[in-house]
Symmetry: C2
Subunit: 339 residues, 2 copies
Amino acid sequence: MSRFLDACYRRPTDATPVWFMRQAGRYQPEYRALREKYDLLTLLRTPELAVQVTLLPKPLGVDALILFADILLPLEPLGLGLRFVPGQGPVLEHPLRTADDIARLQPYAVEEALGFVLETVRGVRQVEPRLPLIGFAGAPFTLASYAIEGGGSRHYRRTKALMYARPDAWQHLMAVLTQVTIDYLRAQVRAGAQAVQVFDSWVGALSPGLYRAAVLPHLQRLFAALGDLGVPRIYFSTGTAGFLEAVREIPAEVFSVDWRVGLDAAWQRLGGPDRVAIQGNLDPIALFAPPQRLRAEVQRVLEEAAGRPGHIFNLGHGILPQTDPDQVRRLVEWVHTHR
Amino acid sequence: MSRFLDACYRRPTDATPVWFMRQAGRYQPEYRALREKYDLLTLLRTPELAVQVTLLPKPLGVDALILFADILLPLEPLGLGLRFVPGQGPVLEHPLRTADDIARLQPYAVEEALGFVLETVRGVRQVEPRLPLIGFAGAPFTLASYAIEGGGSRHYRRTKALMYARPDAWQHLMAVLTQVTIDYLRAQVRAGAQAVQVFDSWVGALSPGLYRAAVLPHLQRLFAALGDLGVPRIYFSTGTAGFLEAVREIPAEVFSVDWRVGLDAAWQRLGGPDRVAIQGNLDPIALFAPPQRLRAEVQRVLEEAAGRPGHIFNLGHGILPQTDPDQVRRLVEWVHTHR
């Protein structure tokens, strides 16, 4: 069996499993070499290349692989025009700016439109049958914020303004994104993904009230619709320390929390070690500390988990491009040898 | 007496007091008119102009004025070279990049170097003796992050790397900034400020452990050193919902929290309505909602305070430049007429 899958179901493991968000990425020389030959969208859309990238972190000793893809890929078949601008990040050329823009949206046939992602999933499973493969998707709020803002945002002004002014349009947008995400993740699992993670990277911009009223019901529907797949469901969010009691109402096996809350405190507020597994929660910037200080931070996280089954070691967010791969390698070793 | 000052000391008031961070600012046509004639540093450094700007929000009906100044002004006498770049925000031309850069820093004579701010305080009190005037300063961590990063930051990579790698240099930097801030706020109170707010705008980037070890002791020293002034001390932070139990250990009369945590939950975790006053916590983006929806959000915040003495209505962060001044005016009226 797998340490990672066992921990998702809170079964005892011989060591704490560890993997990283963006474990395949710009901090790796092998990835940068590929990016010199191919632009990001080509890497994402070419299954043989995406398989290769997904497998890059294997030598680090991680306990799971995560599909190499981008959370924004499902916005493209909606006609939003996805581009990646060097130094600026993702841009949606046709953002949703009015209720009319939103009214036109409908779920689409995911297997056709995003077939290349499913091909990647199958490819990874074929080449690497041993390490579990995590499929993933963006959460409806986080996708909606990109779709409305047209890219990353600091204040989410247009997104929240729409939530306040046009709850009908917001409702439709979230319903469409939720349905697309359900179809997308079910297809990934059919293609071979052994766990799914839903990334709600920016939902921490909301108040507890707005989260509960305008986001949580869609997440509950999303996670419930994945319940029969027989794979663990991971809900990832950041900046949600103010409303973990609402987050807890999502039917997930695993909650991934960031470093801005204590792991043990978060675990208790999410239902406790007898009810859910927890993933996290080292600050990605701790990888810039001297090795002995990094080791102390790793130990602190492991000690907060107190050796209880159901802890998956991870960062609170993705690995930064400037990170030294040797630090990542050390971290994996320390997690695995911690007693 | 004053509603605002009474609420700071948890004394009953006839209505909930309200003021706003950045209540004098770009959302106001009067402010924009001044900015067409003067650049930001000129406005900040010319007491007669800064007095004029401080008074701009009076017609809104707010219960307090806040000094028009910038949290980064005290970094300039340290030789960091402060500039404001249109569209980009503040830039420090000589950021602190090495432990040697930091070792050279020493506290300076605030009354001389920042005399123009104290002049502004005296000017406001002379022109407007009725409304209480809030003095303020940046908190040591937030100032340090600007000083090290050279401006705003997303990940605070250099700041945290220094905290991890050079605790000795970090300690010296925080000690100098804490001393300067103590001197600066004491001078503001001597000049007539009737309350002081310390802005820890970016401290929510830290983990609970790092906050407690590397920041909290300096804040405790800072607030303790203001304890004999006879004015309420307000600690403002955002994104700290994960470690309010540590924040609570700061000896402040008032804690200002952002919208990402429930007001009542935050109040309890900060010691409860019998121990401290609370300021907040409407999302500044709620001002972009239709008036009736804004009103509902305002009522929600007031109801979380449950009419208990010790609530000062405010936003969770500053007013955005795109805000409609009529919405701000309505908000003030609704807070004052809420029963």
